[in-house]
């Protein structure tokens, strides 16, 4: 197992300190709220589609460093991309975080997002990294609210909490 401390790399710490595309959009064609009730992570995501392309995207909220950096890097990655390209990234990010693809050995489009690959060794933190991507998925499919603990969430897997 890789040293999970490597997850807290400079690029992730930098996006946590200075999140990109942070704030609200004056007008948005698509919006969604993401929650992780277990740790209190919460983010609001708004975007504008022009045709098939994501022309603008912004997020804001309160969360841990992994979640905030993931949101920041996600917005930077999908801005200007088509819907189909964004859906591919959502799928690939989820597969990377849950260990279903090995980014060193298999083809993907994740680019710098592979800094999150180490999260697969931290089962309790996978949801932190994935929450922004699920929220993007929900926004693109016009679902207003998602929760990591709702039963229709693809990552649903309750963590005990005593």
């Amino acid at each position: 197992m890789a040293d999970p401390r490597s997850l807290y790399q400079e690029v992730i710490l930098d996006h946590n300190r200075k999140p990109r595309n942070y704030g609200a959009l004056a007008q948005a064609s698509h919006k969604a709220e993401g929650h992780n009730p277990l740790c209190g992570d919460h983010l609001s995501l708004a975007l504008n589609l022009e045709g098939e392309r994501i022309a603008a995207i912004a997020f804001q909220g309160e969360s841990c460093a992994i979640c905030k950096a993931s949101a920041s890097m996600m917005t930077a990655s999908v801005k200007g991309k088509t819907l189909a390209e964004a859906e591919t990234l959502i799928q690939e990010f989820r597969d990377m975080a849950t260990g279903q693809i090995d980014v060193d050995k298999q083809a993907h489009h994740l680019g710098r997002l592979t800094v999150f690959a180490g999260v697969r060794d931290l089962p309790t933190r996978v949801k932190c990294a994935i929450l922004p991507w699920h929220t993007l998925h929900a926004a693109l499919h016009s679902v207003a609210d998602i929760s990591t603990e709702s039963e229709n969430d693809p990552m649903h897997a309750p963590i005990g909490d005593a």
Binding site: P4, C39, S63, A65, L122, C128, A162
Partner: protein, 419 residues
């Protein structure tokens, strides 16, 4: 700078032989990731000494059969050992009678038993239940379920900024509709020790029974249910150096006898026909089905182990640990201790400026330091302090001053990563 600061705080000298005690706990020899395990999540679950592990093995290898049933020798032995464990638990909390000790699966089931057995029979529409902001969800949700079913009302005693109950408000919550008080002896999220004896005396003078959630108290102090004069006292085995899946509801015999059964099944009946079933006497009335026999016997061994060390000695040593840890964290810039009650058990909830508790927990874990991060099943407490979560170091009598130093050093590492 920081090293100088910590050098100013001398570690208290103690006659408590913690190294001898640590030798009893095999799990403390683990080295996760090559670093010594610093286990500071005792409020969630404590570790088990070899004496309890050996007792479980002895039972399982030489004494196991079902209890209260057959006439064969093994069943008689298992029954005798199970009932001996009940006697040990009764002595440990100074219950007047053994039959006042009901074995449950843990604190949660104990409180649910009181809710179903007492609450559903004696609490009705318009009645009121007094709880406090400090309660664990397990002493909130069962009463909410009851209130919803019966049309009863829950009233909440708030806390001050230190995490102490606003005791001046307590008496004002009582009226002719008050039917029960539920209060934690020690807060799991903050460590506050609540003035339960005084609260019980006031309630009982008005004929109102009191349930004390003692899950976080019994591992850390001498508890005497007769001295407290509580009506119910609930606690878990696995926070008490015992196994999971076992706990206790203590109840006054006269009250338990008036209550309705919680679960129906074998062992809780005297006779069954399709016309009429007669329930067994206490405690069997509340122990339907085959209980966790090994776990109960293991818990009996655990309280023997704790009693041999002495709960007063444990409380004294843990108080030294807490004072030392509090002094260290208070002096760290960017660290905020949440919960500063005058009377505290050895629990330190804290926040780090600019760092989310989950990041704290993940990074401390890399140094072998196990703490709890999250809302601690006490979301009303988190709401009171307007934080989503805290990091919580909770100590046991087998923790050391050196482990407090390891916690402090690891927190400094987190601050370096996030600086």
């Amino acid at each position: 700078m920081s090293a100088n600061r910590s050098a100013l705080i001398s570690r208290p000298k103690s006659v408590f032989d913690v190294e001898r005690i640590r030798a009893d706990f095999p799990i403390l020899k683990l080295r996760p990731g090559g670093k010594p395990l610093v286990y500071l999540d005792n409020a969630a679950s404590s570790q088990m000494p070899q004496q309890v592990i050996d007792r479980l093995v002895l039972y399982q290898t030489t004494q196991h059969a079902n209890i209260h049933r057959a006439v064969h020798t093994l069943s008689e032995i298992a029954t005798a050992e199970f009932e001996e464990a009940r006697r040990k638990l009764a002595r440990f909390i100074n219950a007047r009678e053994e039959r006042e000790v009901i074995f449950t699966s843990g604190t949660t089931e104990a409180i649910n038993l009181a809710m179903h057995g007492y609450g559903r029979k004696f609490i009705g529409a318009g009645d009121e239940i007094i709880l406090t902001t400090l309660e664990h969800h397990s002493n909130i949700v069962p009463w909410q379920m009851l209130a919803e079913e019966k049309g009863a009302r829950i009233r909440v005693l708030p806390i001050n900024d230190a995490g102490e109950l606003a005791i001046g408000e307590y008496e004002k919550l009582f009226n002719e509709h008050t039917k029960l008080v539920g209060v934690a002896h020690v807060s799991n999220a903050l460590g506050s020790v609540n003035p339960v004896k005084q609260m019980i005396a006031f309630a009982r003078a008005r004929g109102v029974p009191v349930l004390v959630d003692g899950a976080q108290a019994v591992p850390h102090m001498k508890v005497d249910v007769q001295d407290l004069d509580c009506d119910f006292y609930a606690f878990s085995g696995h926070k008490l150096c015992g196994p999971t899946g076992i706990g206790v509801l203590y109840g006054k015999a006269a009250l338990l006898e008036r209550m309705q059964p919680f679960k129906g099944g074998g062992d809780m009946i005297l006779s069954v026909s399709f016309d009429k079933t007669t329930y067994n006497v206490i405690p069997q009335k509340f122990e339907a089905g085959t209980p966790p026999i090994a776990a109960a016997i293991g818990l009996g061994a655990a309280v023997d182990y704790l009693a041999a060390i002495g709960m007063d000695a444990i409380a004294g040593y843990e108080s030294d640990l807490l004072d030392y840890a509090t002094g260290q964290l208070e002096r760290m810039p960017g660290v905020r201790i949440i919960g500063t009650a005058a009377e505290k058990a050895a629990v330190l909830s804290f926040g780090l400026d600019g760092v989310h508790p989950h990041d704290v927990g993940t990074l401390l874990n890399q140094d072998g330091v196990a703490v709890r991060t999250g809302h601690h099943c006490a979301q009303p407490v988190m709401q009171r302090y307007q934080v989503p979560a805290t990091s919580r170091a909770s100590f046991a009598f087998y923790n050391t001053m050196a482990e407090v130093d390891a916690l402090v050093a690891s927190i400094r590492n987190v601050q370096k990563v996030f600086c």
